[in-house]
Symmetry: none
């Protein structure tokens, strides 16, 4: 549904909607021929599946494995091909750095450069966050003519670089070749508008490498995901509701904030996320609750740990159900099959539960039942209109 | 997926993809209540169906029976509503006639005109190709002011007419009324740009009818599918791979060539096509392999022969599997139910096999199992992105 239509049809109501995102939920069959979700002990989800409607989502498009940014944008109802948030902007918002209109941000990695300047470790041995913070403090001393610079530690070896000056552009290449054994790429413009920014970035990188030359293991920098502040119509205005985001990980909070949701801070694991949800239940109408651990295990190629992570979510689900949301959605932002150890393009299981759902024949939340589910296979951006309809928050179209 | 996104996400890989097109694959139930595919003995396809994912395609749009051109364009990942190749252009490329930028081509039929100039046989008794060649040689003597003309035999009574002159247009009507008992239509422009071309075509047709007036059975000409040279972004550049087309029939080779695939020549039947595939296996990454005989039988309304043609394909399938492609797609460009003896709009069975497919409950390649398949019912143009994702040739979208 396009955003103009949403603006036109959305209406307030006294209902509560919870969107639970199990990151990387979808999977592929493991050693026993069943997926992580199918193997997991999920008695609470199975009961919801029996009462609710199942389906599957296409996060971005057929065949496209989405990153976390587009995956979540789609879940929030935005077309991820239209609202394309760069990694830099995402990383910035994740650590509470509000990008201004003159800012260009990149996600940085401290890396290890070997003889001849070739990358020997793209992550500098996953340098500890505190040590990355020390390096960032030093890198802040680098000055560029007419430009304000910010260098902020994120997590492990990751940092945020922001250049602030009128007329900067994100139209330059990434310096991270994404492979070890290669030299960092020299920043160059991908369009005339990026020329000045590319010159500045080359100066900054040269200065950074000179400053870190004798350090071990972090003696280099890699920059990617150049992006300015994206312009996204605010979610609370689009849908006429108060929206909160509960997530233990900065990046997902970042996307939610870019969409205008209010982050509820303080949770370090899912039990604490559920506690936050309870605490703030009255103050919001819509809650995005993010569960990271299915994806982490999938990315590590650990089938059993992903299965256990899904089961652990299920164990905590009653804490959400006790709050009696009017509509509960459980899905993922993409699939992360443990057998592939990466995000994939496979359709993602979807469960919708509420007063007016049309139940299907499912008695388990599984890829197989989702395939035959009531909701069919839909673009992930269609979840929001359906959930809002169930919540009485979407008016009739036409007389 | 739009082509810009494909360009952005496609990436090289050391994988091989085979797209087997069983022309006119989809069917309708015959005397025993099962379709041609369901009746056929297809033990190899059934084994693939068990290990792979099934689904169905919509070639162009719901309710639309596609011609071979749009059917194949969609299979190659192009939106057939955007990249609309005229029959003339197709016919030309099929016989190795490369249309130039000032060319307008039509597919011609020699026909039989009876008393009063009414068509008594649209195909002049399916005139033999050699006799059509003799007629074409005579028709080349017709001259038009300021225009170079080409008249080339194709197959049976079919020929290609090309007019070459700056400023010609394909905006004129066809002269073939597509029914017998009617007179040929007088060429007229469908837009002002086509006026001059229509005048020229009327002159040519009048001269041709005068020249053939005393011939039997071919004493008339019918022209359709006016088209200039289409502009199609080359498939190998879009997908960053080396692409080959193996087909015993000229028209399919023509579409593939228009898309920039390299035709591998010399096969006169499917066994020879498989031999060509083996011979050129190392030199290409993507192979389009066309199997005509399901469609021919369907067009003839011969249920049993279509069933046998599908079984004959199945018998030769191990020759392809032996090459160990990373991804194998088996589908059709459209349905040709024998009970209808024509192309139809029905969804087309789709089978995708590769390392990371999510299997469904199918143990047979059939319309019924395809309906409940993992891939769902998708636009045919989505096959390519999914196959490329399976082949590791499509990068993640976004961070």
């Amino acid at each position: 549904m396009d955003l103009d239509l949403i603006r036109r049809l959305s209406q307030p109501a006294a209902t509560k909607v919870v969107l639970c995102v199990l990151d990387g939920l979808g999977g592929l069959p493991g050693p026993r021929g069943r997926t992580e979700l199918e193997e997991a002990n999920t008695r609470n989800l199975d009961r919801l599946a029996e009462a609710g409607s199942l389906g599957r989502t296409i996060p971005v498009g057929e065949g496209i494995a989405p990153g976390s940014g587009p995956g979540h944008m789609a879940l929030f109802g935005y077309d991820p091909l239209v609202f394309d948030i760069g990694r830099g902007a995402l990383e910035g918002t994740g650590i509470g750095f509000k990008l201004g209109p003159d800012d260009i941000a990149a996600r940085g990695n401290l890396c290890t450069l070997g003889p001849g300047g070739l990358i020997t470790d793209r992550r500098a041995g996953r340098l500890a966050t505190e040590r990355t913070a020390e390096v960032c403090a030093r890198l802040r001393a680098i000055t560029l003519p007419g430009v304000e610079t910010f260098v902020e530690p994120v997590q492990d070896q990751r940092f945020l670089l922001v250049l602030r000056s009128a007329g900067l552009s994100d139209q330059l290449c990434e310096t991270d070749p994404q492979h070890e054994g290669m030299a960092p790429i020299v920043a160059s413009a991908t369009a005339p508008a990026g020329e000045r920014t590319a010159v500045l970035v080359r100066q900054w990188v040269t200065a950074a490498e000179a400053m870190l030359a004798h350090d071990t293991p972090a003696n280099g920098v890699l920059l990617r995901g150049w992006s300015g502040r994206p312009t996204i119509p605010p979610f609370p205005e689009l849908w006429k509701l108060r929206a909160a985001a509960i997530t233990a990980y900065p990046m997902y909070r970042g996307v939610a904030e870019l969409c205008g949701m209010t982050p509820l801070l303080g949770a370090h694991d899912f039990a604490e996320e559920v506690a936050l949800l309870r605490e703030h239940w009255d103050a919001y109408d819509f809650f995005f609750v993010h569960y990271k651990y299915a994806d982490s295990a999938g990315e590590d190629g650990d089938f059993r740990r992903k299965q256990q992570a899904i089961a652990a979510f299920d164990d905590l689900l009653p804490g959400i159900l006790d709050l009696k949301p009017n509509v509960l959605v459980v899905t993922g932002d993409h699939s992360t099959p443990a057998t592939m150890a990466s995000h994939s393009w496979h359709h993602v299981p979807l469960l919708m539960w509420g007063d007016h759902v049309r139940p299907d024949a499912a008695n388990q939340f599984s890829e197989a039942f989702c395939r035959a589910g009531e909701l069919g296979t839909i673009l992930a951006k269609e979840i929001m209109p359906i959930a809002m309809a169930h919540a009485g928050r979407l008016a009739r179209y036409g007389a």
